[in-house]
Symmetry: D2
Subunit: 306 residues, 4 copies
């Protein structure tokens, strides 16, 4: 294919209440690597299978949640073209200079109708550890903790998700892989910018700018079981799983970081192509869509967010 | 992303010496479903996770091998544009009318420098079994045999693979994910049209138009083990595996269909993005590239083809 | 070792409300094989990895639950010796003639303090399918449904489990692998007659002769995931899982047969030796003991039984 | 069961050419823990799922191979009784005082007809890390390296394996789970002292006292794949696998320690009971018995030993 525009989720910047506890969680338990610390106290992390400089940014604050979801685009020209389309859609665009996050080029930022800040950028430096490329071993650095391979996506909550769907489809060229329609209207939407079952998802919610979860990808269902063992061994707060989603089919487990931000580690969603039909769900089977085995969601999953 | 042009490997048409034996192999053992039989005796098969009408075409002949590798493109307009680019590259283009294969729209066909016929088409009917799309279960039809999920790719052998690389990159917008360069020059090249580590691969070989293997994707390493049990239980000719490739990292097992065409079932190659560097291999580590655990290839793997 | 006395759980005879629905469940979904039907309507099933004639007996009745848990002993002489010890413990022993269940030799039966009938027998015919023994393949008959490998154990509820523990340890030479002691006294006990983490378990309950679940063993955690897919695809009533027990460490999923009898399929408990210490649990961590990831049990698990 | 006599393989003492290289291999790569070093330079290792003090003893020497295979018996009384039976069989018995290996009680030792020294002992101290026993987590110490769970068995080569079979069956109460008979007579024999498919195995060989491999058990086929990744990443000498044995059905991979001693890590042999038939193999299918997928053994597997 000719693939242009938004390539992938690049980073999430989230707020944590206690940086040292957060770092222990994300590096020792989740299995990320610390890349660098910024002068303003932000800490930059990455998974070993990622080429880009970093994919998770932790910012200490007195309230948990997400600051920004960043997406990498294919070229500076695409970034310019996307800026025009975002502006034309009616969202004011802010310019963030190169280096505001170490290792990233200039970014454009804007707030979508659900209240979330989205950023786009075309350049990321390489940083270690990254996948080897000459006569490469499968890994150079032995996987540790939950053995996550990459930052995968965020699920966000807020109002006006119909308009968010419209924006991501028409302006950012995402595809709607799955949607949930109930008598109350569009309730949830899963969007892909490539061949994954989702690169971002939105769920309708009364309050804007909320984070449901930050998700990391694992190699296998075996690693989901291992992640579960880690969660209990280190008394990490558990939400639900190991289980499977009907929506996207991913095998998954959910838990909370020490600040209360929900994390997911998952594996095995399907391969999506842009000519595939959108999968649709209605209120009769939404339980199965959320959690395929339990066929319902626990209260915590529906009501706890940051 | 905006994804245009060639979306994915759509079908392989291969030659088999005995249709009934071939059908038993591909339906009962490999786990495909028979979709329909054509008036000319060709039989059309598909894997259950595919939306398209079929993905494997068997043609009875007195010599095994591959007739054509078909790729699905995003639109009729893309098909027209690609036709112009193929012609401009110097390959004569032949038109195949809609319905020549049941369920497929018009195709364009041409022979590349390695001697292989490639076809492109923009339309495929749906046929059963296909993934459910409304309140979908993970599967409707219980996986059977080796539990393959999709036809994945072919690996082809022939001369002039430098030119094949050039053609697939410049005309069909594929990306070179990995390449092997030895003192004899470019020896093997892996090409992706999307986010998979490969959608087609070429290995340099003196004789044109040869097939190394047809590959199907499995869910997991557990299913590789199950496929291996099936191979021995039913006395299927085994080549190598379970093992892992250094090239593309896929976990894999190779075997032969009753006509001597090599099959692969594999899982777990990496996710590729168009801004990822090309992985490179040289003659010092090519054994590890071929088979990551054995660090060498058996004679059969290098010398047996159809 | 010299291994004498009770070798293993041999069969469970359970009551079902509708034989045809029960057979569809246990053969097509759970993956057992029907061996034979008796003149009195009982149906005899087995898993493919078992040498003995059958391991599950279904009896149609108007109330679900368990009739008898049968254990195979090493020899007729051991059976005689065990009869004397059971009688000496104070339980009246009943003789069941050979052939009362097709394929089994004479049995002795008695009711233990929890209200459950236990039977012992030294002989079982072979029946098909069974593991091949000359130049054996890993399996002759392709695993189907949930791919269970053997009937593994039952968990029973009733009063006086202290005395049941005493009986199984002193009379039947079982070992206590794990026990749960709370301020209310002994609450649960897991007993092994060999090297498995449990061959039978008792939980304290006010009413006698109750069945908590019948358990079957799977090869792998991957197969637990597949069993879960089957449970939802065929609308089988789900209880809890995929998850893991702290007690015995088994990876597991629970569901109900059409009559309301709870089933478990599980894999991966630890290897036990008779010189291993008994693992002990108290009321502070009993949730983790029950379900290691959730660290609590759902109401249904504690209160629904047959 | 009443389980008396020999309970399990307790330890192997093997010779290594370079202790520091051996320690790096067995602790960092295989995943054992160093327990203690003796005054004579021997180093004592254990796997985390073992209660006993140690299970692998490394002794630096100028020739690789095995010094002794130790088995733990159920009681001091059993040890006395076994000593009488060993002597009566005609093997002189040597007494090794408690503490000759730290943490072990007195041992009796003798040389069997294949030239190997066998030792029996009834007491082992506990040492860390060992499985937790009160409100136990699945593990306290995160698995590392190949994540081995226990020392499992050794396979030994030498002459007169008919007599070895006789000795292990009649004197030590082992059971013959599988045997290979060819026109040359008994070629290989697999023996269990409990419910595992093998606790020791002998293959006929012209030279006495040879070691084929020391084997460690893994949790899963997924961990076999991970072990394979480790073998290549750290340039460990690879023999064969991932593959499966027909004999015992274990899924397996073989490699060499830095001194040339062959190691196996494996998972998933079947559960054996003493009333199960012995599985038999003949020369027509011995390839499949050795390696179920390849249906033949590589030269190295048959000819390289220490």
């Amino acid at each position: 294919m000719a693939m242009t525009g938004v390539l992938r989720p690049g980073f999430a910047q989230i707020r944590v209440l206690d940086m040292e506890k957060a770092l222990e969680h994300y590096t020792k338990r989740v299995g990320l690597h610390e890349v660098t610390r910024g002068g303003d106290g932000r800490v930059y992390l990455k998974a070993a299978d990622e080429f880009d400089h970093h994919s998770l940014v932790l910012r200490e604050a007195d309230r948990a949640g997400i600051d920004v979801a960043g997406f990498k685009v294919a070229s500076e020209a695409d970034l310019d073209a996307l800026e025009k389309r975002v502006s034309a859609f009616g969202y004011p665009v802010e310019h963030v200079p190169a280096g505001e996050q170490p290792g990233l080029g200039r970014r454009i930022g804007f707030t979508v109708c659900t209240g979330h800040r989205i950023e786009l950028y075309a350049h990321a430096d390489l940083s270690d550890p990254k996948p080897p490329t000459h006569n490469p071993d499968v890994w150079d650095v032995e996987p540790h903790g939950m053995r996550v391979r990459r930052f995968d996506h965020v699920l966000l909550l807020g109002p006006d998700i119909d308009k968010a769907l419209d924006f991501f489809e028409k302006v950012l060229d995402f595809r709607c892989t799955e949607r949930v329609d109930t008598p109350d209207g569009l309730t949830a939407v899963f969007l892909s910018c490539g061949m994954k079952a989702h690169d971002i998802a939105f769920v309708k919610f009364g309050e804007p700018a909320k984070l449901h979860h930050v998700s990391f990808e694992l190699e296998s269902w075996a690693d989901i079981g291992h992640a579960a063992d880690i969660i209990t061994r280190y008394d990490i707060s558990h939400d639900i799983g190991p289980t499977r989603h009907g929506l996207t089919q991913g095998r998954t487990i959910y838990f909370f970081d020490p600040s209360g931000n929900r994390n997911e580690v998952f594996t095995g969603d399907y391969t999506y192509y842009p000519d595939n039909p959108t999968r649709t769900w209605d209120e009769t089977q939404i339980g199965k869509g959320l959690f395929y085995y339990e066929r319902q969601a626990p209260e915590s999953f529906l009501n706890v967010m940051t």
